[in-house]
Point group: C2
Chain length 369, copies 2
């Protein structure tokens, strides 16, 4: 194997595939990046058995070949090379030679043929979406997937396609995040659960440009994201997702309009008095023209009032401050509307245009205090 | 106690005194910041028994008083306050009330009279130095103090004043760092050993402006740094510092002139092949017009050549790459001169003007390899 490429292209390609290199694995070959030169292409591949990434590296090919090389070391080395043309070659002993200007490295690699192939995904059903939109929608929902694996389905996000609508949902038992976007055209109906981990890594690779698009192909068990020179393949989570429409309600007895930033800053201050893992709620009292937020903890006490516009009944209700903050921070609107039923029912932060709906369950502050 | 101050002044003052709040202590009162309002001044004080900081907070005093308040919590709270005027008051139960716009906090404090006083330092002998110079000289020497306390003297830096010269020295048994600066006037001769930890925290507080000065007062057992609205008091390390002049030599058999940046980048690349805690040296071979740097480790091999100007004999010598990097990174000159005697004697990186002299001991690469 032998080829030339620019240092910056190489750094970029290695950084992309590194996202699917597992940090812990019993299969040491997976700690490698696979370099394959064949059919006039230089391909870099990584695979953590749930997700795989393949990217095409621009370069000048001299000789075909295949080698697997430790991802961490290779990534460190290429990043520290001079900004110049890199010459990469390997021999039959799996020794990888990297030279750039006057610097020459030789690193022991592994037999590339031992590297597990990525799943072959048929490119039939697919949707097209802008990189910007996909990256945004992940950011706006990913925080409410479940962290532990007890319920596998909760560790993923539902991508629900109907006509020209895409609805993305995540939930963790305490809250539900829903984002709706309009696609550029109509597609056949489809529901898939994509692992949260894949979405997190994917959103790191997406450039997020509005003009650039991602094609997402689906099969029964896999999804393939195709963009720029890269494909990301992921297993889908099996099973039926929760019927979220039965879990949310549009009824309310109190509706408030409030400055998002004021509410964020106020809750943020209140959390200073909550030690981590302490289920201490913030208590919100809704009056006619203002919302009073109170917290009382062994560390100290805080209270603060914020002006609001209100419809309906007065209310006192307690929340885990982090759950409110997570949702508020991914909403772009400056003024937001929150709907309440009573102190034991969830609240909904949602907009008139149905772009988003964040449900948060309250905490019973009488028993907790 | 009652006063008003601006949020930004308060954040700044709390951030300054926080530098001397111990992270681990058996005296819980030391985890606090002491707020003292008396004699028309608002003073914030911290004390970790080796170092103490006192800063004056600008404000509008309503009532005198004294209280100690948990430093971490107080710092978190004041940083998250709205950008406005802060009203602080305390009552006889040591409850501290902080209010700012519509936000109101109450936090339990402690009896301020239990807080240990800072050492009283007589302001007789002192030198004046610009904040910029002091901050720079600390940065340029602090990396070679010893990390462990086996030899207490090595954990500090020697400040050696003679006439209008200040010489600052640190050493850790493998290397010596020396920086010389000219003071603006003559002072009586003085040698003190200042704890490295104090210098590290001090340099974080110094604004580093050239026009601003620091007065440093000395007694037998303490030093006091006075600048802006702040004083930092530190114990001195007792004992006689090493006679460094006897440890360094001006003789050499090989002298090279080299581009500093090229050498740094080259060593930096070589260290990729060294696992931490591995004493693997980089091997430097000095020829007529170039220096070849080589490393061979279980991970891989690297070699690279750099153009140099040389006087004297060819030489092959091994070094701990980190020790070279630490010194090279704090030198401002673009071209540097390195002096060697033989493969078992230290090298000296020093300038003609005697502003700096960095000695690094070699590693015997024959026995290590």
């Amino acid at each position: 194997m032998e080829f030339y490429c620019s240092k910056s292209d190489l750094v970029n390609a290695v950084s992309i595939v590194s996202k699917a290199v597992p940090s812990k694995t019993t299969m040491t070959i997976l700690e490698c990046i696979l370099i394959t030169v064949s059919n006039g292409k230089i391909l870099l591949t990584s695979n953590d058995t749930e997700m795989g990434i393949e990217t095409v590296l621009k370069g000048d090919i001299k000789d075909n070949g295949i080698i697997a090389i430790d991802a961490k070391l290779f990534s460190d080395v290429v990043r520290k090379l001079p900004d110049s043309i890199v010459h990469i070659s390997s021999n039959q002993d799996y020794l990888l030679n990297i030279s750039c200007d006057k610097a020459k490295f030789s690193i022991a690699g592994k037999n590339g043929n031992e590297f597990p192939y990525l799943e072959d995904v048929e490119k039939n059903d697919f949707i097209t979406i802008s990189q910007f939109t996909l990256k945004e929608i992940i950011r706006q929902t990913i925080f409410s997937i479940a962290q532990n694996e007890n319920n596998k389905i909760m560790t993923g996000e539902l991508f629900d396609i109907k006509g020209n609508k895409l609805r993305v949902i995540s939930l963790d038992g305490h809250r539900i995040s829903i984002r709706n976007i309009e696609l550029r055209q109509e597609y056949p109906s489809l529901k898939v659960i994509i692992p949260g981990k894949t979405l997190i890594e994917l959103s790191k690779i997406l450039s997020g440009e509005i003009e650039k698009v991602v094609n997402i192909y689906f099969t029964d068990s896999n999804a393939l994201f195709e963009f720029d020179n890269t494909i990301v393949i992921t297993r889908l989570i099996e099973g039926e997702y929760f019927d979220v429409d039965k879990m949310i309600s549009n009824e309310y007895s109190t509706k408030i309009l409030i400055e998002k930033k004021e509410l964020i800053n106020c809750i943020d201050r209140a959390t200073l008095l909550v030690r981590e893992n302490d289920r201490k709620p913030v208590i919100i009292s809704i009056g006619n023209d203002d919302l009073e937020l109170k917290i009382n903890s062994p560390i100290g006490a805080m209270d603060e009032t914020i002006n609001i516009e209100k419809e309906g009944a007065d209310l006192m209700i307690g929340f885990n401050p982090r759950f409110l903050l997570d949702a508020l921070r991914v909403i772009d609107d400056e003024k937001i509307t929150i709907y309440f039923m009573n102190s034991k029912a969830p609240c909904y932060i949602k907009d008139e245009a149905h772009k988003y709906n964040y449900m948060v369950l309250p905490i019973n502050f009488n028993t907790v205090n």
